[in-house]
Amino acid sequence: MKILVCVTSVPDTTTKIAFTDNNTRLNKAGVTFITGPYDDYALARAVELKEKTGASVTVLNVGEADTEPVIRKCLAIGADDAIRVNAEPTDAYFVAEQIAAIAQETSYDLILMGRESIDYNGGQVHGIVGEMLGIPSISPVMLLDIEGDTAQITREIEGGKESLEAKLPLVLGCQEPIAEWKIPNMRGIMTARTKPLKVVEPTGTDKLTTVDSYELPAPRGAVKMIPAEEAETLIQLLHNEAKVI
């Protein structure tokens, strides 16, 4: 079985976002980049499947050269090899096109992604890739088991969950508790250095969307504190002042 895991390199979840160049670029100064938390679940499940069934795991990122530390970390966690498509990943359709092009070269049985990236939060790339390849896409996937060419899947739906069965190949957007996040060990880190990381150029399309500028939310006004002994007045304030109840 061949598994492709698509990962993003994103600001650590504790990052205070700021912009530079007249609000046209993320200010990367002092920002630690990590594998997207949902992508980490996808990778962890892929590595478990590799340990169980001997599947091969390829990691794919569409990004510029500064994403390579994140890719190396994925190799250290257990992926066999990696591909980086050398491009700025700003548009979901564009990113999906790059992933679909790679997937068309090698036929993967499973393409695992995160439920959503935590920068653009689109939750879209998996569905677009599925459409481009003409195979089913399912997200957000909480449980995944493979037997032969059939996948047993639990997906979250609003207010509950759904068990599904589908034939491979599939594109899945993953979330917890599909697997536990994995931390690379020393041996993994050593071997990751020599695992193949291939860099390819993007296939040419114009981006369908571009970002003109960024903006930060306006800060909230000062908090109004209510003494605990007068807690009931909160309800009056929500009713008469804020008018939300």
């Binding site: 912009f19 569905g127 599925g130 459409e131 759904e162 917890e176 908090v223 109840i245």
Partner: protein
């Protein structure tokens, strides 16, 4: 060249978030000098469908094929793509939801559409087609230019306040060719807590964290939620510990909510939690620690013990 709105049903009724999408789509139609058509799949009666007119739709296409009874993102995308072709639509509007997410992506792939997810305002058409979206889980906004011929806007809850007017929209039955491959996934079992207010749709949310000490104490959270007719939510550790179902977990790695009121009980206010809730209109924080970071992001705060405060708030709501 109409604006097409994909509206979702919940047990035969148009979802509230979809009514917002219809109103939003009608506004875009007005701005672009076109009309707004709603497309709805699955079983619903004509009176319900026609009510889309009260929110600005001038026509409703009803896809009635029994195969569409169960929500299916891939099949719905095929249906909407056919409607786009029939209507010559250039803009497609829908409300974000798990079904809509699955559908939008497949549709963008089919139509090579410019896609904006998490739209939070009406577009700015003064110079091209600009839409403002929420990114970095609510920590920032982007002004996106959509350059493709066909544009898809997935709007977040509370993007616009719908105004109702008199009127109904004519309903036309829509029977596009379905694609067998869209039904390749078989649903074996569905577990859904029915009757509850769905968290992503809720106007009011009562949320609780590790400060509640254990799942056996959730009664006081539920009592307040019931009195307010609010949905319940929780922090990540609470769902990780299985105190509450995963579908209640809000934050950066959970559900993102933007209700009118978010009441946080015994939640410290970690940046990852705030990320998923900070676009709520009004935030109330109840925490026994006056230094809890959440107070910095709150509109109203009470320093106190949830076991004392929550029952008193419930009584005060009942007395309103």
């Amino acid at each position: 060249m109409s604006v097409l709105i994909f509206a979702e049903l919940d047990e035969g009724k148009i979802k509230k978030s979809s009514l917002e999408a219809i109103f939003y789509g009608a506004k875009v139609a007005e701005m672009t000098g076109t009309s707004a058509t709603a497309i709805i799949a699955g079983p619903a009666d004509d009176a319900e469908l026609a009510s889309a007119g009260r929110f600005g739709a001038t026509k409703v296409l009803h896809a009635t094929d029994p195969k569409l009874t169960e929500p299916n993102g891939m099949a719905y995308a095929t249906v909407v793509a056919a409607a786009v072709q029939q209507e010559g639509s250039k803009v497609i509007v829908l409300a974000k939801s798990s079904l809509a997410d699955a559908m939008t992506a497949r549709l963008a792939g089919k139509l090579k559409a410019g896609l904006a997810a998490n739209v939070i305002e009406l577009p700015d058409l003064s110079n091209g087609f600009l839409v403002k979206t929420s990114i970095y889980t609510g920590k920032a906004f982007a002004h996106n230019e959509l350059k493709a011929d066909i544009k898809i806007l997935a709007i977040r809850k509370n993007t616009i306040t719908p105004e109702e007017k008199d009127g109904t929209a004519p309903v036309e039955t829509f029977t596009p060719a379905l694609n067998e491959a869209d039904f390749a996934i078989s649903v074996k079992n569905t577990e859904k807590s029915s009757g509850d207010i769905l968290l992503p749709e809720a106007d009011l949310v009562v949320s609780a964290g590790r400060g509640l000490k254990g799942p056996e104490n959730w009664g006081i959270v539920e009592d307040l939620a019931n009195a307010l007719q609010a949905a319940t939510a929780c922090s990540k550790p609470v769902s990780d510990l299985d105190w509450r179902p995963h579908s209640e977990h809000v934050g950066q790695t959970g559900i993102k909510v933007s209700p009118n009121l978010y009441i946080a009980c015994g939640i410290s206010g970690a940046i990852q939690h705030l990320a998923g809730v900070n676009s709520s209109k009004v935030i109330v924080v109840i925490n026994k620690d006056a230094d809890a970071p959440f107070f910095k992001s709150a509109d109203y705060g009470i320093v106190g013990d949830v076991f004392d405060i929550l029952p008193r708030l419930t009584e005060a709501v009942k007395a309103l």
